[in-house]
C-alpha cells in the first residue's frame, strides 16, 4: 500500500515536471471591472500563450487586503511553481513572503508597484517620469510665472510620492509657481474638496496637476461649480475611461496613460528569462504616454 502511494506521488511529480512552466501573476486587485488590472492580466496571458508557459492570475478581493495577498502567495509557494510576478499591496508587508519564495528557489519580479526587497527587478511605470511628462505639457501651455497647484495622492505610498515629486520638479523647472500642494487621497470627493479650498485660497491659478484621474475629475467638478473651468487646465494621471471621456468633452485637458499591458507581458517575459538563468536589469520601464484630445478616443 505504502509503495503504491509512493509510486503515485512519484508519478504526480513526474507529470508535474512534464507540464509547461507555471507562473503566477498576483495583482493588487481583481481584473474584472478594473480596466487597469484587466490590461495587466491580458498582457500576461498573451505573453504566456506566446512563450508556451502556463500563467495563473490571482489577486486579493480589494487592494487593501494585504493579509489575503500574503496568504495566496504562501499557498502557491507551498504548491510549488516556477516564478511569481507580484504587484504588492503593501511592499513591506509582502517582503517576508517574497524572501520565502526566493529561498525556495522561485524567481520573483515586482510589477506596477516596487517592493522593498533588495535585488528584485521592478517592472512598471516610472511614475516620476510620467508626472514630469504631465508637467512638461502644462509648461508648454502656460506663461512663465503662472500659478499652478498639485493634488497629491496618498503621500505615504511610493506612487503618490513619485507623482508629487515628478510633477513639482517639472513645473518648477520651467518657471511655474507651485502655490498649493494638497492631498485628495486618490479619492474623487476628497480631491474635489481639496480643489475647492485651493481655488478659494489661490484664485489666480492657471493649472492643476492631479496625481490620478479620480481627483482630476473631482477638480473638474469643483472648477465647474466655481465657474472657473475655462481659466484652469486640469491634467490627471492614469487615462481611465471616465477621464478619456472628460478629455474628449473638453473638461479635463490631458492625462497620462500607463502601459499596464506591458507590465503583465514584460513581467512574464522577465520570469521566463530568470528561469532560463539569464540576468535582467533591476528596473524595466513600461513607459507612459500623454493623452489629450488627439488620442483620448482609444482610452474610452
Amino acid at each position: 500500500m505504502k509503495k503504491l502511494i509512493l509510486a503515485g506521488a512519484a508519478l504526480a511529480l513526474m507529470s508535474g515536471t512534464a507540464l509547461a512552466d507555471k507562473f503566477l501573476l498576483d495583482m493588487k486587485g481583481p481584473g474584472a471591472g478594473n480596466p487597469f488590472w484587466a490590461a495587466v492580466e491580458a498582457g500576461a496571458m498573451e505573453k504566456g500563450k506566446e512563450l508556451g508557459v502556463e500563467v495563473m492570475v490571482m489577486s486579493p478581493p480589494t487592494e487593501s487586503d494585504v493579509a489575503a495577498q500574503i496568504a495566496q502567495i504562501e499557498d502557491m509557494i507551498a504548491q510549488g511553481l516556477d516564478g511569481i510576478a507580484l504587484a504588492p499591496t503593501d511592499p513591506n508587508a509582502l517582503a517576508p513572503v517574497v524572501d520565502a519564495a526566493k529561498a525556495a528557489g522561485i524567481p520573483v519580479v515586482f510589477v506596477d508597484t516596487k517592493g522593498s526587497n533588495e535585488g528584485v527587478t521592478f517592472i512598471g511605470t516610472d511614475n516620476e517620469a510620467g508626472a514630469k511628462l504631465a508637467a512638461d505639457y502644462i509648461c508648454g501651455k502656460l506663461e512663465k510665472g503662472s500659478e499652478v497647484a498639485i493634488l497629491q495622492g496618498i503621500i505615504t505610498q511610493s506612487t503618490g510620492q513619485a507623482r508629487a515629486n515628478g510633477s513639482k520638479a517639472g513645473l518648477e523647472a520651467c518657471g511655474l509657481k507651485v502655490v498649493a500642494e494638497q492631498t485628495g487621497e486618490w479619492d474623487r470627493a476628497k480631491g474635489q474638496a481639496a480643489m475647492e479650498n485651493i481655488i478659494t485660497g489661490n484664485p489666480n491659478i492657471k493649472a492643476v496637476f492631479a496625481s490620478n484621474d479620480n481627483m482630476a475629475l473631482g477638480a473638474v467638478e469643483a472648477l465647474k461649480s466655481a465657474g472657473k473651468l475655462a481659466d484652469v487646465m486640469v491634467v490627471g494621471f492614469d487615462a481611465n475611461p471616465d477621464a478619456a471621456v472628460s478629455v474628449l468633452a473638453g473638461d479635463m485637458t490631458a492625462t497620462v496613460a500607463q502601459a499596464p499591458k506591458n507590465m503583465g507581458g514584460f513581467g512574464i517575459q522577465a520570469l521566463v528569462d530568470l528561469k532560463a538563468g539569464k540576468t535582467i536589469p533591476p528596473v524595466i520601464d513600461t513607459g507612459t504616454v500623454l493623452v489629450d484630445k488627439s488620442n483620448a478616443e482609444q482610452y474610452k
Binding site: P30, A32, N34, R188, E196, T200, G201, N214, S225
Partner: protein, 328 residues
Amino acid sequence: MLGNSPRISSFLEHYGIVVIVVAMMAFLYASRPDVFMSLANLTNIIKQNATLALLALGMFVVIVTAGIDLSVGSVMALGMMCLAVTAKAGVPWPIVILIGPLVGITAGLVNGLGLTVLRLPHPFIMTLGTLNIARGLSSLITEGAPVSGLGREVRYLGQANYDFGFFPPPTGLPASLFVVGISAVGMWFFLNRTSMGRHIFAIGGNPHAARVSGINVDRVLVYVYAISGFFAGLGGLLLAGRTDSGFPLAGQNAELDAIAAVIIGGASFFGGRGTVLGVMAGVLIMGLMRNGLNLNNVSPFWQQILIGLVIIAAVYIDVLRRHAAVRR
C-alpha cells in the same frame, strides 16, 4: 469660578459647544483674514460637510440608545452605487433619487432586525458585519468601476446652489444646506416632541427600566437603525450629486468621522444624552478644523493628529463640566 453662577453654568451646559465653534471661527479668521470669511470659503465648508452632517444625525440617534452603527459609510457607498447604476440605466429621476434613501433604510432594517431577532450581544457586531457586506456589494455591482454622469435632476440636491440674486455667482447657499437644515430640525422635533423620541432617550438612559415601563425596546431599536440607514442613503444621494459619480470606495472611514462629530458634540457614548444642536456643532468643529488646516497648508498628517487631540479634549471638557455640575 464660572460654575459658581448657575445662570452661566447652565448657559455653558447647553450652548458651550456653540461658543467653541464661534471661537474657532474667530481664530481661523485671524489666521487667514483674506480668505476664511469669504463667501466662497463659507460655501465650501457647507458643501464639504453636508454628507458628514447627515451621517452624524443618523449616528446620533443610534448613540442615544447606547448603540453604534459602523455601517453608515459603506451603506452610503451602496446607496450611491445603486442610484448611479439605475440613473445610467435610464430609470426616471423621481425614482432614482428615492433609491439612495431606500437602500439605506433597507440596510438599517437589516441592522435592526439582526440586532433584535438574532439577539447579537452588541450592535458593534451586527453593523461591523453589514459594514463589510455593504462595501462588498458596492464593489460587486459594477465589479469595482465608478459610474459617472448622473443627470441634472439626480444631482440637484447635492449640486444646486441658490444665489438668491444676492450672492456673487459661484457662491451662495447650497441645496445640501437645506437638506441638512430640514433633517436637523426634523430630528430635533422627532426626538423631543414625539413619544418615540422620548422612548429612544429612555432606552439609552436605562434599557431595563424602559422595558419594564412598557416600551417595546426591540421595535424602537429597529426604527433607530432604519433612521440611521436612511440618513446614510440620503448622504449618498448628496455625495453622488456633488461628485456626479457613484464610486464603490466612497465614504471609507466616514463612520468614524460621524462618531467623532457626535461625541465632540457632547453626546454620551453610554446613551441617553446629547442634543441635535451639539451634533451639528460637532460636525462644524470637524469641518472648520479641516478647512482651516487646509487653508493654512498644514500637512494632512498633522490634521489627523489634531483631530485626534480634539476628540479627546472635547470629551474631557465634557467630563470636567459634568463634575462641576454634580458638585454644585
